[in-house]
């Protein structure tokens, strides 16, 4: 861990995330077209866009969880595979089965699995680490609860603690604010600000346009392609929002539909 600190020094100036020319398609139906952006270090980035704009897909593509058609993704100037240890992921809360027989602590420990390594059991100091992260998000007293007995906000905090324990430099969060209570929302914002203070970067898919200004300093407006990206005060305006939310890209959809029809007739 320490031997790589020199290397980390070299990387520290490089952008946490650089996406170039990225296209992702499901069954040849494009979900993301020619996406390009760069994230400055130490920023809190909101991704906004309508349903089906490809926001979750973008995060998954960054982590190599969905195949990409074209383009390149650099995380701290290397391919994702080599930067895994520096990336923490908070999936959508609905993506997992909350009846799974594990406790909140078990879930948080999963954030340390990379550090623990294949086939080795978790040790005491890992537990301490996990408990500390749970304390940070205010759920330490729920550590031994089965996860189905947590409220929605507490479940989200569990996911957040799991990301914190990864001690990453770049965080990718898929709608952490969805369906949480006011106090959890506040706690998440506090944590994001804390991360920023430590020079870490967070990319957050966000739905509530009202709070973009106060929560983030950088924003990506996404609707199958990047409509605009940059500092919030520069790009988060009515014109760009209209472009992002104003109707779907009918022509793009038409051409991909035509491509599929053509293919089927072959």
């Amino acid at each position: 861990m320490f031997s790589s600190s020199d290397k980390q020094q070299d990387d520290s100036d490089s952008a946490p995330l650089l996406v170039e020319d990225l296209t992702v398609a499901y069954h040849r139906k494009p979900v993301l077209w020619d996406v390009e952006f760069q994230i400055p270090k130490g920023s809190l980035v909101g991704i906004v866009g309508p349903n089906g704009a490809g926001k979750s897909t973008l995060l998954k593509a960054i982590m190599g969880l969905v195949p990409i058609a074209t383009g390149s993704i650099k995380v701290f100037n290397t391919p994702y595979r080599k930067a895994r240890a520096k990336v923490g992921y908070v999936p959508q809360k609905e993506s997992v089965d909350w009846d799974f027989p594990v406790t909140a602590l078990d879930v948080v420990m999963m954030g340390l699995y990379k550090q623990i390594g294949w086939c080795l059991p978790a040790r005491r100091h890992h537990r301490t680490q996990a408990l500390r992260a749970m304390e940070q998000v205010g759920i330490a007293d729920l550590a031994h609860r089965q996860i189905s007995q947590l409220s929605g906000g507490q479940q989200q905090r569990t996911f957040l603690a799991r990301a914190l324990v990864q001690n990453a430099d770049l965080y990718l969060m898929d709608e952490p604010f969805a369906a949480v209570d006011a106090s959890t929302e506040k706690a998440i914002v506090e944590i994001l600000r804390g991360l920023k203070k430590e020079g870490k970067t967070a990319i957050v898919i966000h739905h509530d346009l009202q709070t973009v200004n106060s929560y983030f300093d950088h924003v990506i407006l996404l609707n199958m392609r990047v409509v605009a990206d940059g500092p919030v005060e520069e790009v988060f305006n009515q014109e760009n929002l209209n472009k992002t939310y104003g109707g779907r890209l009918t022509l793009l959809e038409e051409v991909s539909e035509a491509m599929r029809r053509r293919e089927r007739s072959l």
Binding site: M63, V102, M110, Y113, R162
Partner: protein, 442 residues
């Protein structure tokens, strides 16, 4: 009726031992099939390995175990792979694509067996139903001991599965619970998935002989499903599933001998009885599981209704006392006022007398000091709620009573204190009745 077990350790001992290791081997993997909602994929693989066995037999021209396992493992992976492929390419749901894959492979396997190798003892019946009763006859020599071949194979498979589950416990847990996180930190869900499928295939082949392909599925899924109902911790679930597997195996064989015999029939299939017993265990778990059990829920409901009836009786006695009405508090009168069934009334009365809250004096029910205590706090809760509903919620005074009547049963001391505060410490309720003081336990 005498239970003539007619137990022969050399035969029945070994049959039971084979059944136990087989059931454990299956149950270990079953936990993850159940948790990944893939119970049917286990079913599919156990059927689909048949052509793998047939081809392995044709190539190697023997029933040796190794080629069989290799053939099965390959087809097992192919099943998982084809299922995924058809699901994507055909855009159908997983169940449908599984149905296509395994029936096709199973049919091919059956045709191959029947057409080309019918003369040998790899027959369809054996594959379907197993023949655990015959396993003690086919022994091999291990360090001077004559041990059934099936036992050795299954024991080995059980050890492999156990090692797999222990060594990859963490990986199995994270890929089952949250595959996208697992992928993001470099624990490939696909690798674990296919490893699991290979082991399912190998376990299925090893178990064919003993319990048959249909029952392999029961042994994989039912003990794990039983354990899932009983606990919220993964490692405990695995232990429980092993326990359920052992009970199914032992009780299965014993009852296969004993139950038909006691009715004057010949003993029945051990494998069949194992499935019956495991089904029975699942039923018991569904009924009596601590939290979700059906019977447990019913009992909790009943207990609550009795508790409420107890509350109502003491509160009624308190009110009669308070008004100093000239009313004889006889049982019949109370039952009439509270409209309760005779059975509930008897149960609750017995309970109240055991707890020393009520005594019977000259046919009348009288509150003891302890009963007085419970009643006073209840009436206090009731009247505070009435005041609160009127004051804070703004409900019409004529309608506050039924609401308060419900809430009083769920109100504890802390809540009463809060009510007392927010209603500005009233001394009478909306109907003019005095609100009694809090009585606290010494």
């Amino acid at each position: 009726m005498t239970l003539d077990l007619n137990w022969n350790w050399m035969l029945d001992g070994w049959i039971t031992a084979v059944a136990v290791v087989c059931a454990i081997a299956c149950a270990l993997l079953g936990n993850f099939l159940v948790l990944r909602r893939m119970s049917m994929l286990g079913d599919a693989i156990t059927h689909a390995v048949l052509p793998g066995l047939a081809v392995a037999f044709l190539i190697s021209d023997s029933r040796a175990s190794l080629p069989m396992f290799i053939g099965a493992a390959i087809v097992g992976v192919l099943t998982a792979f084809f299922t995924e492929w058809i699901r994507r390419a055909g855009k159908v749901d997983e169940g449908a694509s599984m149905g296509v894959v395994f029936t096709t492979l199973f049919a091919i396997g059956l045709v191959m067996i029947v057409q080309t190798i019918d003369q040998v003892d790899l027959d369809a019946n054996c594959v379907l139903y197993g023949s655990i009763e015959l396993t003690p006859l086919d022994t091999i020599d291990v360090a001077g001991w004559q041990i059934p071949r099936a036992f050795c194979t299954l024991f080995l498979v059980m050890l492999i599965n156990l090692t797999f589950v222990i060594v990859f416990y963490k990986e199995l847990k994270v890929t089952s619970f949250d595959p996208s996180l697992a992928g993001s930190i470099g624990f490939s869900p696909a690798i674990i998935h296919y490893a699991l499928m290979v082991l399912v295939a190998i376990t299925a082949v090893a178990s064919f002989e003993s319990v048959g392909s249909v029952l392999v599925v029961a042994m994989m899924v039912v003990p794990a499903a039983t354990a899932y109902l009983l606990t919220h911790r993964l490692h405990i679930m695995i232990c429980f599933s092993i326990l359920a597997a052992i009970i199914s195996a032992v009780a299965g064989h014993v009852s296969a001998i004993a139950i038909p015999a006691s009715f004057g029939f010949r003993s029945t299939s051990t494998a069949g009885m194992m499935a019956v017993i495991s089904g029975l265990l699942l039923f018991l778990a569904a009924m009596f599981a601590p939290r979700q059990g059906i019977a447990v829920k019913l009992w909790n409901q009943l207990a609550l209704s009795w508790h409420i009836l107890g509350d109502d009786i003491v509160a009624l006695l308190y009110r009669v006392d308070e008004k100093q009405a000239n009313q004889r508090t006889e049982k019949a009168w109370i039952r009439e006022v509270l409209l309760c069934s005779p059975l509930s009334f008897t149960v609750v009365m017995t309970w109240l007398r055991i707890r020393g809250e009520i005594v019977i004096k000259t046919n009348e029910l009288v509150l003891t000091d302890q009963g007085q205590h419970r009643a006073q706090n209840l009436v206090r809760s009731h009247r505070l709620w009435e005041q609160y509903l009127l004051d804070q919620v703004g409900i019409d005074p004529s309608r506050v009573h039924p609401q308060a009547e419900q809430m009083e049963h769920y109100t504890d001391k802390k809540m009463r204190q809060q009510l007392h505060q927010v209603t500005e410490k009233p001394s009478i309720d909306p109907h003019g009745s005095p609100i009694p003081e809090e009585r606290s336990t010494k």
